[in-house]
């Protein structure tokens, strides 16, 4: 469950990236997040993972009020959430296998189970066979898919994805969205930020649309091509 209650985020420079945003995504639901470049999509996702804290208003995730979550409770909280970052955030000096295994290692999963799980995750994004490579040896789309594998490897209760298909072709893009829908079908709460309205139409899921920090009812005309 993700709930925003009149949330405003003002960055140190003074720019308000989110303005009085309120919405509720019940547990087990899936939704898209869209809006023009700079509308505040990534900022909204960052508030959920507590990369940034709301300037005003409440963010509640899985019954936890994030405005009051102390620093030392952050690690355990974050382990419930899988995140696909817009800039991938892979570790360049660790192999693909190690990168994907990292959330398991961090959460203290049994090392015996790790290889099987990692391979299953890599298989889902079509990267089996690239385990031993380093991220800088991968193409942009492959890196993005490693990021997706890492986000889902722990089977988190919440899955956030920030522009997960920006670097892949149409077919792969569809596969990835289908993967997210599959996760949603087995109970994961999914929130995907994307520019590709095609997916929104295809999957028929609810849409949160941001326009210059405000949550608006539907994509403005200009976003429909």
């Amino acid at each position: 469950m993700i709930a925003f209650n009149d949330v405003t985020k003002r960055y140190p420079g003074g720019h308000e990236a989110l303005k009085h945003v309120s919405f509720k995504l019940p547990a087990g639901e899936m939704a898209f997040l869209t809006g023009h470049s700079g509308a505040g999509k990534s900022t909204l996702l960052k508030l959920i993972v507590v990369i940034e804290r709301a300037t005003q208003g409440q963010v509640v995730v899985n019954e936890q009020n994030l405005t009051r979550l102390p620093r030392r409770k952050l690690p355990r909280f974050r382990r419930q959430i899988g995140v696909v970052f817009q800039d991938h955030k892979l570790l360049p000096e660790q192999t693909v296998f190690e990168n994907v295994a990292l959330p398991l290692v961090v959460s203290g999963y049994s090392p015996k189970d790790t290889p099987r799980r990692v391979r299953a995750a890599l298989d889902k994004v079509g990267l089996l066979g690239k385990e031993a490579m380093f991220p800088l040896m991968l193409s942009g789309g492959e890196q993005q898919r490693v990021g997706i594998a890492r986000a889902v490897v722990t089977r988190p209760s919440i899955l956030l994805a920030d522009e997960p298909t920006g670097n892949v072709d149409a077919a792969m893009s569809d596969d990835i969205m289908d993967l997210f829908r599959l996760f949603n079908q087995v109970g994961t709460t999914v929130l995907v930020a994307t520019h590709e309205l095609r997916h929104i139409e295809r999957l028929g899921k609810p849409v949160l649309c941001l326009d210059d920090g405000y949550l608006v009812d539907r994509p403005a005309d200009q976003w429909i091509d």
């Binding site: 690690p75 892979l90 290692v105």
Partner: protein, 314 residues
């Protein structure tokens, strides 16, 4: 590149816990040996820094040793009055004092021949009709009591004795030596503090830069749910290993320096036929150095990583 390895922090069972720690340890260490991993430079820097106080220690140790061979023991000459024919009684009495190591009684005849030898007036003193010299007691102090206060106290008391005509001592020489030793000790302190500071600064600076070059990684692991402790661990191991290897380097460097100095020094000192041998770094001291190096490595890493982890948000 200097690599940092993260593996599981918490798993079921102690064995697994130890296994995991061991794995992090091994991999952190392995990173140091990678050809590209010029971390060897850091180890050398720490090694040299640690070698300096070690060398300093060895030097003072040797000065001590030398001092024991040269006349650092205080000596007082008691010239007895002319009518004492046999000083054995007095000698026995004084011998019982705790500050006295040994007393040599020099007879007037012995004294005269010594005097001849010393002064070179062999012919001149032949002119003497009678031996004008009295019995002399040469009092050697123990090493522990070879300080100005004890000697002065003894001199004052000896002067009161009826058997004693005159007291002579080399207090000036003793004073000088005391001064030199005193200055040496102060210098060792100052240098030791400076060098200890240098080791801490160098190690924590290294860790700081290592963390700086890993900012991105640390950030990612934080975002994935890694605790500070999990992130810190490989840095601590790396600090520990660097400190330990630095200590080993220090032991090697110190030994090499000492061996380079051994031949000329024993050569020079040997001219006086003294039984002096250059003292090296003992096994105990090498152990202390090792403990110090790895301990400092750990502590400096802990301090530095703690300070800089906070800088990396969120």
């Amino acid at each position: 590149m200097m690599g940092i390895w993260w593996t599981a922090r918490r798993t079921s069972g102690l064995i697994n816990y130890l296994k995991n720690n061991f794995r992090v340890f091994v991999r952190s260490t392995a990173q140091l040996t990678r050809p590209a991993g010029g971390a060897i430079m850091t180890v050398v820097a720490i090694g040299i820094t640690l070698a300096l106080p070690a060398l300093l220690y060895v030097v003072t140790d040797n000065i001590d040793q030398l001092g024991r061979n040269w006349e650092t023991r205080a000596q007082v000459n008691l010239f007895l009055v002319k009518n004492v024919e046999n000083p054995a009684a007095l000698q026995a009495r004084l011998q019982s004092l705790k500050e006295i190591d040994r007393i040599d009684a020099v007879s007037p005849d012995q004294g005269l021949s010594d005097f001849k030898k010393y002064s070179g007036f062999a012919r001149a003193s032949d002119l003497l009709d009678a031996n004008p010299l009295p019995w002399t007691l040469v009092v050697h102090f123990t090493r522990e009591h070879s300080n100005i206060e004890a000697v002065q106290r003894f001199i004052d008391r000896a002067a009161q004795l009826p058997e004693v005509d005159n007291v002579r001592s080399d207090v000036l020489w003793l004073k000088r030596l005391t001064a030199v030793v005193e200055i040496g000790h102060r210098l060792v302190w100052v240098l030791a503090i400076l060098l200890g500071l240098a080791v801490v600064v160098i190690i924590s600076n290294t860790v700081r830069l290592a963390i700086l070059s890993r900012t991105h990684e640390i950030e990612v692991i934080k975002l994935i749910g890694g605790t500070d402790r999990f992130i810190r661990r490989p840095f601590l191991y790396q600090g520990f290993v660097q400190g330990a290897l630095g200590a080993v380097t220090a032991v090697l460097l110190t030994t090499i320096c000492i061996e380079a100095l051994r031949e000329p020094i024993t050569g020079l000192v040997g001219e006086y036929g003294s039984g002096y041998r250059l003292v090296g770094l003992s096994w105990t001291n090498a152990g202390v150095l090792f403990a110090l190096g790895s301990g400092l490595g750990w502590v400096a890493s802990r301090w530095s990583v703690g300070r800089h982890l906070k800088d990396i948000e969120p």
